[in-house]
Symmetry: C2
Subunit: 548 residues, 2 copies
């Protein structure tokens, strides 16, 4: 299979047009139906697939870094009567289960990133739905701060998934209806089972949209709302930094970036992921509100963008790799110096980088692979932001070396900013209900590196073993893990990783997605006579009637 | 299929022995392997099936009502080397998907009821594991306040589900490990993938058990802990009331109790559930700490026990009934009088009845059927505790009658005691984030009945229609609902019903169970070469390796 490319650029977009004018950006959905992600279906009526969503994710990311002047994002469409008809049904019908699940996960992450930009980066959003807004199209709208629907007697918002396709609106829609927009659950029930959707005054009365506007007043109303959104932003971004190209080198055996590398052992169904520390101190420009040319390639940004790309490739292109060992390499002091410089900087750019690190680490938490972090070499550097990888991994193996050269270090990055989707830091989640232990570790970490033996005693290492046992113990653990059922492991890891409080995000990934995954396996949707399989064909779906 | 009987009595138990001595009850698991719930497997090694769990649920319920003197419950086993080996694998392997899911849901509810008895009813619990404690056996232990494991060099607690069966510990185990017992997630990961489990000091150090005790000191240690548990209880129950027999009349067309009736239309895959109001005022004995003979049959207890039984029969014995219309009949003033008398009473019995009502309504929320509450007759009485059914239903249809005879009423029962598993009252959930609206409704309700039109305006009714339209609108809505895919509806309803905060309970039903349901549909567990299918046979399971 050809590798999936998650990097793109506005100059190469096929499905969106990005226009920036003053403090407002307009992202126009104009899906080219002849360029699907994989051949076999047409992207009619502004329906989307992975290719379309990769561009959306790129656009939002670039606005955050490259266009700090933009305070309002208007998402709209080029078609006159259709905003977006949702995820392409034929694409879903043709895709295997694993792809469907990973596609939904990615689109969910993109929508959460849009909300994150509004909540934390002074980039408000407005969905201007000048036409039919169905399924995933309305889910995209729900991820915006405001939704305006055209009042033309015809255009509706709708979730036809359950009545027409026997699946859920799985991109956060159900959760956002009741938890975010606080639509009454009984009305949400009516809405979600009414294929044709709800339009006009009723859509506004029920809270499905914030306003309905006639075609004649449309442009003025949207412009006025965008101005109001821009005016109320209080967080400033910048200086502007153009995201550099990652351009990994990809072979069957490895994916190589500047700071990140995945080595693949297809036969064993394992991979090794290595993240390298910065090899130079952070640039002085990091604290300079005027910015500078080195920022685009600053380690804290580049390494985490590479990690993000690597995780996506792992999910989509290496589906049979079940266990990933995760090592770090380099000087822990440089990692800490970068973390501290980033936290000290008062620029919007520095905050954006930290927010990006947080999103990437959340993507890591939500990646359905077993991760074993391993510190077994003197060059290991699980420090600060890289220590988060060890804390987020399912297990952390540390070698007990006589010289105490192998150690972990904390930095400001472990003190609470890099929260999981539950809202807890990874240290808080590890010692759930025992905040004193977290404080003890942070206090100890402030004094210097924590060698393996002490790290185990403090509860940071899962397993520490000496030279005689370490290699065998790790090898057996990886082999055993790789021999277990991937499905059971996914369910188990999802349950153990997300201890404690739940949020909109954890509800979407842990509850809504789990139900959708289940439904995707059921004959009523994806079986031979299932509704998703037969969509667009004359044959009516046949359902099994047992309620489960 | 023969109907499933959820009623039993200690005198008829086949799998447990209940001994009451002073303030301590001992519930001894002594599974008779020759009496499974359905023929086809043997309940070896204290493994359990639905029949075993029905007795457990009965025992805990009876202790609450019939033995108010009991303050500590010790759960143990008759076998010497095995406490409990979990849910019977052959039973799971033979069961269809729908039964498996409903079995897990029931066992989860039973374990939550055990925790509820400890949290709210002064009935603490201790699991005395004098032998192997595996899978569902350890999940039962996790539902107790304390766990003691015998230290004999051999007995371990374990979750072999993932490594041996390619499924999850699905009876709340994963959630309770990290959220309730706060075991470090990386250690939980090791534990859940180590089939042989963890024993002795390590089990205690990791927090998997509260203590390990040698065989020689066993009896004394357990007795001392039971005494300590009893001594620290502060909530008093009583007066004692013996639960009366429900003994419904069951036919193919209906299930009839004194206050509850289900009428079945198998062809349409619909049912009508009617709950009748009390026909007499509450007995004076309700407020009397000495109790009296009328308490066993007091409406508030009997009607909700009947509803509980009816919901279980609906789940297990009527799997193809997708839509249930829900009506009430009688004098709303009598319902309110009973609710008020119950709330006013200071006896432990009255509190037990309210807690039972709460559990039954939670069972209703977690029942995977579409519920449409309907108020279309003058005798309709959605008042107080019965109004909760309308608020918990997916929709509430009200007829607009000119005479304003059709109305809803509130009582003390709607003010917050009858919480959903999210911890919200059904009114709070309905108007999530808008507490002023809840207060407005309660204030209006205090003034008297709220007729349909006003109920709609206040947001209580989903749909109100007049005589000309009502019957057709309801008929079409029911037919449409019954035509949709049952699986998609289950996922949709689970997502919309549980708005707002999450708790251990909602995590178990919404997150853990959803993952388990998904895993149960996957070839790696239940396929021809799946681990659950092949358990106990020489053939090794064959897995599909894609990670999803």
């Amino acid at each position: 299979m050809d590798p999936t490319h998650f990097e793109t650029h506005p100059s190469r977009y096929r499905h969106w047009k990005l226009k920036v004018a003053g403090d407002t950006a307009t992202l126009i959905m104009a899906v080219d139906d002849t360029f699907p992600h994989r051949p076999g279906y047409e992207l009619k009526l502004n329906s989307y697939d992975l290719a379309v969503d990769i561009e959306l994710a790129d656009a939002v990311q670039r606005l955050r870094f490259e266009h700090p002047e933009v305070k309002a994002l208007v998402i709209t469409a080029e078609l006159d009567r259709v905003f977006c008809s949702g995820a392409n049904i034929y694409m879903l019908g043709q895709s295997n289960h694993s792809f469907k699940v990973n596609f939904c996960k990615f689109t969910n992450e993109t929508r959460i990133a849009l909300e994150d930009a509004s909540a934390n980066s002074g980039l408000g959003s407005l969905c201007a739905c000048k036409g039919t807004t169905a399924g995933g199209g309305y889910e995209l709208a729900l991820a915006c701060d405001e939704i305006v629907l055209v009042d033309d007697g015809n255009s509706a918002v709708s979730f036809p998934e359950t009545p027409l396709l026997a699946v859920l609106p799985g991109t956060g829609g159900l959760t956002r209806l009741v938890d975010k927009r606080r639509i009454r659950r009984d009305r949400a029930d009516v809405f979600c089972t009414t294929a044709e959707g709800i339009k006009g005054k009723r859509a506004k009365d029920w809270g499905l949209v914030d306003d309905v506007v006639s075609r004649s007043k449309w442009d003025d109303a949207i412009a006025a709302r965008a101005r109001a959104i821009a005016a109320r932003q209080t967080v400033a971004r910048g200086p502007a930094v153009v995201l550099s190209e990652l351009a990994p080198k990809i072979s069957d055996r490895a994916i190589r970036y500047r700071h990140v590398e995945i080595s693949i052992d297809a036969g064993a169904r394992t991979a090794e992921l290595v993240v390298k520390a910065p090899d130079a101190p952070p640039p002085a420009e990091l604290g300079d509100p005027r910015g500078g040319p080195e920022l685009a390639d600053v380690w804290s940004l580049r390494a985490f963008r590479e990690l993000d790309d690597a995780l996506l490739r792992l999910r989509f292109d290496l589906p049979e790799i079940g266990v990933v060992t995760l090592r770090t390499s380099g000087d822990p002091k440089q990692v800490i110096a970068h973390d501290e410089a980033l936290a000290r900087s008062t620029t919007g750019f520095a905050r954006e980088v930290r927010l990006l690190q947080r999103r990437v680490l959340k993507r890591f938490d939500n990646t359905a692979r077993s991760f074993y972090a391993v510190a077994d070499r003197p060059e290991s550097c699980f420090a600060g932001s890289l220590l988060e990888l060890a804390l987020g991994a399912d297990r952390f193996y540390m070698l007990l070396d006589g010289a105490e050269a192998i150690a972990v270090s904390t930095s400001v990055a472990n003190q609470g900013f890099l929260t999981m989707s539950s809202g807890l830091s990874r240290l808080d989640a590890r010692f759930y209900g025992d905040p004193a232990r977290v404080q003890k570790i942070l206090a100890r970490g402030a004094e210097g590196a924590i060698p393996s033996e002490e790290a185990e005693a403090l509860g940071i290492a899962t397993i520490a073993a000496d030279d005689i046992d370490f290699a065998d113990e790790l090898r057996i653990a990886v082999e055993e893990r790789a021999s277990l059922s991937p499905d059971a492991l996914t369910g188990m890891e999802q349950s153990l990783r997300f201890v404690g409080p739940e949020t909109l995000e954890t509800k979407i990934f842990g509850r809504l997605s789990a139900w959708q995954n289940w439904i995707f396996t059921r004959a009523n949707s994806t079986g031979e006579h299932g509704a998703l399989t037969l969509y667009g064909q004359p044959e009516r779906p046949q359902f099994q009637w047992k309620r489960t």
